[in-house]
């Protein structure tokens, strides 16, 4: 487990973190979400001991941590294999393990035939894959990805998403910081929303959704009904083959009333998207 407890960090006159706390459980995908300058990267740097907090506690229950930062530079004149060996040496990896891991990840990330290429000759997408390879080379228990979807094409995004799922299925823990709410929604088990260095929410994604659930339902019926004749419906919106009904209160008895007069094909609660929640929680500034 990783626990950040009441962490404060100030740079000059700027308070980057103001008592931030959150927990990342083992074997889960955790999203650190917040607008620019909210303190996400500062939190990650503190977890990695690149910088130190002014106050607060960090509990790290992982021996090996992998990190892919937002800024992705590499030594341009080094070959891919040289760069991998360079990082393996910095991490004190055994030669045999390095070779095994290198072979596996070069193949997994489809870089095997480019291993002798210099970094400066790689495309942006290939550099991104190489960064990912370096971050997982030492088989970390916790992988931290800072804005991993930045600058990726849809195929690369899918590849990265699949990899995160794969790592999770192998019992690894992933902490990702991103602006991409749709990706976070698909990947994360739990999230922490931060704004101006302060926690707004920390917990499971489902609980966050439940917290922000509105009295909205999606209904698809056979034939036509004038929903506005029903009591307690504030607004009706056409959505695909059905309608979204915005109710005054929780629609507990509405389905019973509806099935009495119409053939209901689909009826479900509308959950707010993470993007809507994000905008609602941290937007407005």
């Amino acid at each position: 487990m990783l626990a950040i407890k009441d962490v404060y960090k100030t740079f000059g006159n700027v308070e980057a973190l103001k008592g931030l706390s959150f927990e990342v459980k083992k074997g889960t995908v955790f999203g650190l979400l917040g607008p620019n300058g909210s303190g996400k990267t500062t939190s990650i740097r503190i977890i990695l001991s690149i910088i130190y907090p002014d106050k607060g506690e960090i509990e790290i229950g992982f021996k090996k941590i992998g990190y892919m930062p937002e800024e992705r530079g590499l030594y341009p004149d080094m070959r891919i294999d040289e760069l991998i060996i360079f990082f393996s040496r910095l991490r004190g990896m055994d030669k045999l393990i390095t070779e095994k891991q290198m072979e596996f990840w070069l193949s997994r990330l489809e870089l095997s035939d480019r291993r002798k290429d210099k970094v400066k000759n790689l495309s942006k997408g290939l550099k991104q894959r190489l960064h990912l390879l370096i971050s997982v080379l030492h088989d970390p228990e916790l992988l931290i990805l800072d804005e991993p979807f930045m600058g990726l094409d849809p195929i690369a995004i899918k590849g990265l998403r699949d990899l995160v799922f794969e790592l999770k299925s192998r019992g690894k823990t992933v902490l990702l910081s991103t602006h991409w709410m749709d990706q976070a929604e698909q990947l994360c088990d739990s999230v922490c929303l931060i704004k101006n260095g302060e926690k707004i929410y920390s917990g499971s994604l489902d609980a966050l959704r439940m917290k922000h659930i509105k009295n909205e339902i999606y209904v698809e019926i056979e034939g036509n009904i004038n929903f506005e004749e029903f009591q307690g419906i504030n607004k009706v919106k056409k959505e695909g083959k059905g309608f979204i009904l915005i109710m005054e209160k929780k629609p507990e008895n509405f389905i019973r009333e509806l099935t009495d007069i119409a053939d209901v094909k689909e009826f479900r609660t509308v959950y707010p998207s993470l993007e809507d929640i994000f905008i609602e929680e941290v937007g407005g500034e």
Binding site: P69, E71, D77, L90, G92
Partner: protein, 404 residues
């Protein structure tokens, strides 16, 4: 810890030895060594001679209005003096039959002679020397004395410098040359090394991989690894050039037809090496204080120039004051100030008798200061590596040093 530092050192070293400039500066002296050795052995009897045609003697026209010097002006293998009138001389210069001509006035002792040519004559003093010899011979002739006395009268007096130490007198000529060489070498090495080191230190910051590497190695170890890597690559080049020097000295009997030998006392040699290593680290760390906070290649040059200009102060002090006044108050005090010690003290040791306590104290203060500034540079480097924006001002550097 050692492995991590060595990994950085290895990468830095390989980066530089694979670069084009390294090939030029390292391979060139090695080729020179082989060439010197072979050429010296191919022509041992005649001595070392350049393998191309020797230059022909310069033809110099002489328009002697005094008629007194021309009888005594003797041509040599380098200068062929030909008597002519002024009209003829101008025509011959224009048609490039002669290299130039000298007009000697009616009274050469009272007025100056003039040299005319299409280009500026760089060896004008040598020509004046020939005229002086001719004038001396003429004066002897006019007084009815032996002309052969001229060579005797022109014979120079030489002075050999020797230092007096507590152990007795010691030859000083070679040591002065070594002292001057040491100061020039250290200064040049520092200027060159500081440029490499500055670029190397901020490489990860400028190429955007600093955050990738910092979880695996602390900034101070990264800096130490880089310092060792840059130093190792430069020492390779320095060693290669030293070998060129030793090859020349070793083959001097073939090349110059004479032996060149000097001895360097062990104590002074030890001081030179210690001052060189400590001075190099001190100055490079000093430059890093300014360079660590930059965010672009252009800012590296600006920040570095500040450091290099400051290092010029001890260099100029050494060559404009200490070399002439090695035991003056300014020289003694400055040789004890760590920032001046690496350049000032080796020069003092070479040309003057320096008290042992001064040498030991200066080395001690230098070692302590070097350690201190290395720690400070590491701290500023650590704190400024993740900073972006304008380079830090001196006040901000001081604030960083005071931070936890």
């Amino acid at each position: 810890m050692v492995n991590k530092v060595f990994t950085i050192t290895r990468r830095e070293f390989l980066k530089y030895i694979r670069s084009k400039w390294f090939r030029v500066f390292f391979i060139l002296p090695l080729i020179s060594i082989i060439m010197i050795y072979l050429l010296a052995r191919i022509m041992p009897e005649e001595g070392f001679k350049l393998p191309f045609k020797e230059k022909e003697a310069k033809k110099i026209g002489i328009v002697d209005h005094s008629k007194k010097l021309i009888p005594f002006l003797e041509s040599t293998d380098k200068y062929d003096f030909i008597q002519m009138d002024s009209t003829q001389a101008v025509e011959k210069v224009m048609s490039k039959d002669i290299d130039g001509f000298i007009i000697i006035p009616e009274d050469p002792d009272a007025s100056k002679s003039t040299y005319f040519s299409l280009t500026v004559e760089v060896e004008i003093d040598r020509l004046a020397g020939f005229l002086t010899s001719a004038a001396i011979k003429n004066r002897l002739y006019e007084r009815g004395l032996e002309i052969s006395l001229a060579e005797e009268l022109r014979k120079r007096i030489y002075i050999t410098p020797k230092k007096i130490t507590k152990k007795g007198e010691k030859s000083g000529g070679g040591l002065i040359a070594v002292g001057i060489s040491m100061v020039i070498f250290l200064y040049m090495f520092i200027v060159f090394a500081s440029q490499l080191m500055a670029r190397s230190a901020v490489e990860e910051k400028l190429n955007g991989m600093i955050e990738l590497i910092l979880p695996d190695i602390s900034p101070s170890k990264l800096l130490l690894g880089k310092l060792l890597g840059v130093t190792a690559s430069l020492l390779c080049i320095a060693t290669a050039w030293f070998l060129v020097g030793f090859t020349v000295i070793g083959n001097a009997v073939y090349i110059f037809q004479k032996n060149i030998a000097f001895t360097l006392p062990t104590g002074i040699l030890f001081y030179f090496i210690a001052a060189f290593l400590l001075g190099y680290t001190l100055y490079t760390s000093f430059i890093l204080l300014f360079v660590s906070s930059v965010s672009s290649e252009q800012e590296v040059n600006q920040a570095m120039s500040v450091g290099v200009i400051v290092i010029m102060i001890p260099y100029f002090l050494t060559f404009f004051w200490v070399i002439k006044n090695p035991n003056s108050l300014v020289s003694v005090v400055s040789s004890l100030i760590p920032f001046f010690t690496p350049l000032v003290m080796p020069m003092r040791l070479s040309i003057a008798t320096v008290s042992l306590w001064q040498a030991i104290l200066s080395l001690f203060l230098l070692a302590v200061s070097t350690w201190g500034i290395l720690i400070l540079a590491g701290k500023v480097y650590r704190l400024s590596m993740l900073m972006v924006g304008k380079p830090l001002r001196l006040s901000e550097i001081i604030r960083l040093i005071r931070m936890k």
